[in-house]
Subunit: 336 residues, 2 copies
């Protein structure tokens, strides 16, 4: 049968309660006792029973990662975040549960409640685009479930964020520095924070360079490869074509490059293209895509880390700022 806490206690000649204290890193255990107990645990290869801990301690040791499976940005993005969250949870012996949660639908709150009642997560990690949905945040607070967010729009949450606007500005400045003036922008899905920030950065850079905004150069996309193709066709049909395109993510940038091929435009000679995210694809393309590195996995890890700090009583958690870095590659070149 499995080793129980009681046996560890016997082996270390202490009471079960003391072993419990060591297990939970509680205060008021002498250093010497702590060592002896740890040794006994090790010796017996003791594994606490999660359900028993959960039942007695009224906590589940479960972190739920919530995402919107309706219009998720890109599955690889979520998969990477998930990986990071998992890593952080593992480090503290929490388990991770992933839960899709569509925001549309009036039974949204009911579904959220069911999720909480059925699984009792100690906390949740929110991923774009459900980081800022007010009814969601409100309900979590009402039910007293702590949360941390990846790339929240408001800065009242704890979690992690990159200065996407500054990054977007920087990449557009890179294009400007190469002599481009007719720079187009392909938007992401409306009201996603990512879309807003990247557009804002684009505008900021253009304005700072004194280039008047041309509305025809800002076209709608939806974060997908296909939408990038469509948007690019629209741009290429213009009487005065752009010499460079900044797409709000790599998938769309890839679509733009694809469409360029259709139109016989060589990248980067005839058209510079850049994206955002630095997905694995970006490096595999030829020419490789100039983009902004967004370390999704790392961001997932950090967001979960902040949540866990909170749950484990190690401070209150903060909103960590990630540095960004431009990946200048072959898809952008001096305007000809």
């Amino acid at each position: 049968m499995r080793v129980r806490l009681e046996e560890v206690a016997r082996a270390a000649s202490v009471s079960p309660k003391t072993v419990s204290r060591v297990l939970n890193d509680e205060a008021n255990v002498s250093e010497e006792t702590r060592k002896r107990v740890r040794a006994a645990m090790e010796e017996l290869d003791y594994r606490p029973h999660p359900s028993a801990r959960s039942l007695a301690g009224n906590r589940s040791f479960v972190v739920a990662m919530l995402y919107d499976n309706n219009d998720n940005p890109a599955s690889t993005y979520l998969a990477e975040i998930q990986d990071g969250v998992l890593e952080a949870c593992d480090a503290h012996r929490y388990s991770m549960m992933v839960r899709p949660l569509r925001m549309r639908g009036d039974d949204f709150i009911r579904r959220l409640d069911a999720l909480i009642s059925d699984h009792h997560p100690d906390g949740v990690v929110l991923t774009p685009p459900i980081t800022d949905y007010a009814p969601l945040l409100k309900r979590l607070r009402e039910r007293n479930v702590p949360y941390a967010s990846v790339s929240p729009q408001s800065d009242t949450s704890i979690g992690v964020r990159m200065d996407e606007q500054a990054a977007a500005r920087a990449i557009v400045e890179h294009l400007l520095g190469l002599g481009h003036r007719r720079i187009a922008h392909v938007l992401g899905i409306a009201d996603h924070g990512a879309s807003r920030w990247r557009l804002a950065g684009y505008r900021e850079a253009m304005a700072a360079a004194g280039v008047p905004e041309d509305p025809a150069l800002v076209v709608q996309g939806a974060f997908t490869f296909g939408s990038g193709v469509t948007a690019a066709r629209e741009l290429f049909a213009l009487k005065q074509r752009p010499t460079a395109v900044f797409a709000a993510n790599d998938d769309m940038a890839t679509g733009v490059m694809w469409a360029a091929g259709e139109y016989g435009l060589k990248v980067p000679q005839d058209l510079s293209v850049c994206g955002f995210d630095d997905t694995p694809l970006a490096r595999q393309l030829w020419p490789a895509l100039t983009t902004v590195q967004q370390p999704s996995r790392e961001m997932g890890r950090i967001a979960a880390q902040q949540l866990l700090n909170l749950l484990r009583g190690r401070g209150t958690g903060e909103l960590v700022q990630m540095p960004f870095s431009l990946q200048i590659r072959g898809s952008t070149a001096r305007v000809s």
Copy 2:
């Protein structure tokens, strides 16, 4: 405070044990009592406490989905399977836990043991390529953890499988039917079942059509976009170029189309290309990709379903055969 089983019992005027029986769909409860108890549960919005159930019943109601995060085929593939597994688990109020598990490394068994001891999954779902790793299966059996597989190579497991060889044969026959004879094949990662079956189907179709095999037309890939590009360049450098390419998955097929663009080859006029999987990308490409639809999400759901049947004592689970279907689209055309 939360509603407990005891209160449901009181409301229905039965003993707690009877409510428990109803909750677990056990036998020996009169239909009338069952109804009364169900009504009381509904009325009080009763939610059983998973940890208490788990502790008392010696089962966790957790299904772990294992995957190899080392060389996973494509993250979107796994994400879809995960979605399906989750759906099946939800339907029976099981929770799903996702666990990466690298097979390389000599501490593999130790990591598996830790996973089992720490989380006590009632069963696991295995995904390619770890569906047939003998030490894994052996250990699971030793520790008495039931499992179901998605696309296992051997047919001793329960789970779900598509006849990939027949599908590959069918798609190559489609190319042959269009008059192609110099048909190339881009392989997946060695010893993945998917690679073997798809190659076998290719050979079968070619042999049946009496086309002698040309080793130069079968090149190595690795299931990634980049490897497709590389493989295609190799093929295009041949003195006698293929008129069609069957890539072992869509990502590589996309790479082939990309490389075709580089070489000034028009798809499908100069080159027919087809893939395997029917990823979302396949439809977004232009021309859209001819491919085999592999319903990953559905397969994940079915594999989990078989496992749950077993866990819930509803039969022993089987190895379900999925039908395949060709998606003939714009990337393949009659040889010119």
